[in-house]
Symmetry: C2
C-alpha cells in the first residue's frame, strides 16, 4: 500500500511572518518514521475560495490531506465550512463535541462564550476526532477518492490528534496491504558534520538498499535513524541490531549513544543512578550548560549549582584560580580549566564538576588562541581530565552550543567510564 499524503496549513499568521508552521515538519517526521513520505505541503491564507480550491487540488494528488488550523471559535476560522463546501455537504452540529467544550469551560469555572459553539459545527459527512488537548475537535471528511483530516493549528493539539487518530489509521492501512513490522534504531553522534556521517555510512546504505537511513541535524548533534521493515518482528529486530553495530563502528568515536534521550538527560540519568551530583564552572558558555541540565524536570536531584565566571575576579573569588596562574597561562588554558573544575567541585561539594573556558567570539581571538578554542576539564572522584578542542568558528551562538555539548559529553564519558586519565 503506497499512501500519498499532503499537508495543507491554513492561516494568515503563517504567511505574514507571525508564526512558523511546525506541524508540517512534525507530520513529515512521523510519516518518515513509518517509512512513508509526505509528498507535498501547502500554506494558504484564511480565504474561502483559496482554501476550497487548495482542498480540491490536493485531493486530486493525495489519498490523505491533513489540514492544520482554522478550527478556532472566531469568524476567521473557516476550515470546517471550507471542507464542507469542497465535499459538497452542509455543516452539522456535533452535540457530543459541544458538550465536551462546555464541560471544559465549566471545569475551569469560566462561562463559555457563545462563539465557541462554532467549534462544534462540522462537515455533515465527517467523523469527529476527539481532541484530548484542547477545545476544538478534529474531524475526517471523505473527499474525492480520499480523505481530509482536519486538525487544530496549535502544535500540541495537532500532535495529539496526529498520534491519537491519524497514525493508528495509517498503520492499520499499511498492515492491510501486507502484515508489516517496522523497527527503528537511532544513533547519536557529536563532532562530525552530516555529510561526514553520511560518507561513513555510504557502504551500509549501499549494501542495504531496503533499509531507510535518515539523518537529522539537531545542531551540533547528528542523529541517524535506521528503519528496518519486514514481516517478522524478531528478524527485523535482529537485523536492526546488527546494522546498528555496523553503523556504530563506521561512524566511530563521534557516536555517544543510541536511542531518543538527548545528551543532558543521559548525563542526569547516569549520575542519578549512582546517587552522584554535578556542578558547572562556565566561562565562554555563560550558563548554557547549567541551563541545558536544569531544563530537565527533576534535575535538582543531580545538579547542585554552577558558577558563571566571566570576569577573572569571579574565577579568583569562587574557583580559586590565582592571578599567578591567569598571568602565566591566560584564562583560556589547561591550568585554568583544571582549577575551575577542581575549585567548583570542592567548593560546592559535588561528585563531579565540569569546567569550560574558551573563546566564543566574535572578538577576543588571536593567532595563538583563535575563536573556537576551548579548554574543558572534568573533575571527579578519581582526578581531573582536561581536553582542548578547536571548534569551527560558525559564529558565537554555534560555538557556544558546540562547547556546551562537548562539555556534557565529557561528563558522560567520565561518569560512565569511572576512571581518570
Amino acid at each position: 500500500v503506497k499512501l500519498r499524503i499532503e499537508s495543507l496549513a491554513i492561516g494568515d499568521e503563517l504567511l505574514d511572518g507571525r508564526v512558523a508552521d511546525k506541524n508540517t515538519q512534525d507530520l513529515g517526521d512521523a510519516l518518515s518514521a513509518l517509512g512513508l513520505e509526505l509528498q507535498g505541503a501547502r500554506t494558504v491564507p484564511d480565504e474561502r475560495p483559496t482554501i476550497v480550491a487548495a482542498l480540491h487540488e490536493a485531493s486530486l494528488r493525495a489519498d490523505i490531506v491533513v489540514t492544520s488550523g482554522g478550527l478556532g471559535p472566531t469568524t476567521d476560522d473557516i476550515t470546517a465550512e471550507c471542507v464542507a463546501a469542497a465535499a459538497g455537504v452542509e455543516l452539522r452540529f456535533d452535540e457530543a463535541s459541544f458538550e465536551r467544550i462546555r464541560a471544559m469551560f465549566a471545569s475551569r469555572g469560566i462561562p463559555m462564550p457563545e462563539s465557541n459553539r462554532r467549534q462544534a459545527m462540522l462537515p455533515g459527512s465527517s467523523r469527529t476526532l476527539e481532541n484530548q488537548a484542547g477545545t476544538a475537535p478534529g474531524f475526517v471528511t471523505p473527499l474525492g477518492a480520499g480523505e481530509v483530516w482536519s486538525f487544530p493549528g496549535v502544535p500540541r493539539e495537532y500532535r495529539q490528534l496526529l498520534e491519537d487518530h491519524l497514525l493508528p489509521r495509517i498503520r492499520e492501512r499499511l498492515a492491510g496491504g501486507a502484515p508489516q513490522v517496522l523497527v527503528r534504531r537511532t544513533l547519536r553522534s557529536l563532532g562530525l558534520a552530516e555529510s561526514a556521517v553520511g560518507e561513513r555510512l555510504h557502504a551500509l546504505t549501499k549494501e542495504n538498499p531496503d533499509v531507510r537511513v535518515q539523518y537529522r541535524a539537531a545542531f551540533p548533534e547528528i542523529l541517524v535513524r535506521l528503519i528496518v521493515e519486514g514481516v517478522d518482528r524478531d528478524a527485523c529486530e535482529a537485523r536492526a541490531e546488527a546494522l546498528l553495530a555496523v553503523a556504530r563502528a563506521a561512524v566511530g568515536d563521534s557516536v555517544y549513544g543510541v536511542g531518543d534521550d538527548p545528551l543532558e538527560v543521559r548525563v542526569l540519568r547516569a549520575l542519578e543512578a549512582k546517587g552522584q551530583t554535578l556542578v558547572t564552572a562556565e566561562s565562554c558558555t555563560g550558563g548554557l550548560v547549567a541551563k541545558r541540565l536544569t531544563d530537565v524536570a527533576g534535575s535538582s536531584a543531580v545538579v547542585l549549582g554552577g558558577i558563571v565566571s566571566y570576569a577573572n575576579a569571579v574565577k579568583e573569588a569562587f574557583l580559586g584560580v590565582t592571578p599567578a596562574v591567569l598571568g602565566a597561562h591566560g584564562a583560556v588554558s589547561e591550568e585554568v580549566a583544571r582549577t575551575m573544575a577542581e575549585g567548583a567541585r570542592a567548593k560546592m561539594g559535588a561528585t563531579w564538576a565540569v569546567a569550560i573556558t574558551g573563546i566564543a567570539g566574535p572578538g577576543g581571538g588571536s593567532a595563538d588562541k583563535p575563536v573556537g578554542l576551548v579548554w574543558f576539564a572534568v573533575a571527579g572522584p578519581e582526578g581531573t581530565t582536561a581536553v582542548k578542542k578547536k571548534l569551527p568558528d560558525f559564529g558565537r551562538e554555534r560555538v557556544r552550543e558546540m562547547a556546551a555539548a562537548a562539555a556534557l559529553r565529557l561528563v558522560l564519558e567520565r561518569a560512565t567510564a569511572g576512571g581518570a586519565t
Copy 2:
C-alpha cells in the same frame, strides 16, 4: 500596485521531518513589513515533474514566485534545470558566478570539487543575483507574466539575497505605482497575552483602519508593529509617533520599550553606557538569565559572572543565605531572594545583581507555594528591591522563560530609574 507573491520551497528534507522551513516565514515577515502579503506557500520534494508543475501553477497565481533550495552542487539540486524547463529555455554557463565560486574555494585553500561547476549553470533567460553569503548564486527568470526568484535554502543565504535583491526590487515596483512612504514603529510588551494586548489596541485599530497593526509573539514577549503608509515622510513619521504614544498608553505597564532590541540587549546597553556591571544569582532559572545575557557578543563588558544555586548548600556557601533564613522562610521567599542578590553583588563586586528563586515545576509546588511562584530581587547602589510574581503554569520551560524575562526587565527598570524602593 498590488503585487501577488508566493513561496515555493524545494527539498525532500523539508517534507520528511529533517528540517523546518524558516525561509517562508522570513519572506512573509519581510513582505508584511512592506505592507504586502505573501499569498501562499508550497513545499515540494526534489522531483523534476513536481517542481516544474508547481512553478507553472504558482506563476499563474502570482507575479513573483520565490523558490528556496535546490541550488547546491549535488545531483539532487535541480532547481535551475526545473526553472529552465518551466520557462522553456536551456541552461547557460555563468562564467562570472563560476569565478566567484572558484575564488571562494581558493581563499580557503581548498581545491574546488568538479561538482561545484553545477552551481554556475543557470536558466538561459535568467539574470544572476550575486550571493554575498555563500557559493550558490541566485537568479531571477521571467515566467509567464511574472518572475521566478530562486534563492538558496540555507536561511542565512536566503535572507541575504532577499535583502540584497528582492526587497529593493519590490520597493522600486511599489514606488512605481505611487510614491510611497512606509514608517514602522515597534512596541515591546511583557506580561500580557497576545489577545489581551489586542483588546487594548482595539480602539486604535478601529479608528485607524489604514494603519497596519501586527502582532508577533516572541514568548513571553508580545511585539506590536504599527505600519503607517503615505506619500509624505514627515507626515507619516509624525503620525507613527503619535500612534505609538496612544498604543503605549493603551497597552500600559506591560510595555517595556520600543524598537528592535530585545530585553537582554537593552539591559547590557543601559549598563554599559554608565560603565556599570551585573551579576546573576539564579535558582529556578538555572543559568537561563546568564545565558541570555552572554548570548550577546561583547556582554563581558557588563556581565562579570553568575551563580546557579540549585542546592541550598550552594546558596549558603556562595551567597550567604543562612540555614536559619532558609528554615524560617523557605528557599522561595523574599528574604532568600534579597540575600541572594545582595550576596552575589558583594561577593562578585558588581554594580547590580539580580536574583531569582521560584518553583518552575512540574514538581515542587504546594498550595502555599504553587508552581509559577517566583521571587525576584535586584540589588544595586541604592539598595535592594524585591518583587513576587505568580506566573501562569504553562509548563517548566515557559515558566523559566517568563521568569528570566521578568528578571531582565526588573534590572532594566531599576538600572534606568536609578532609585531604590
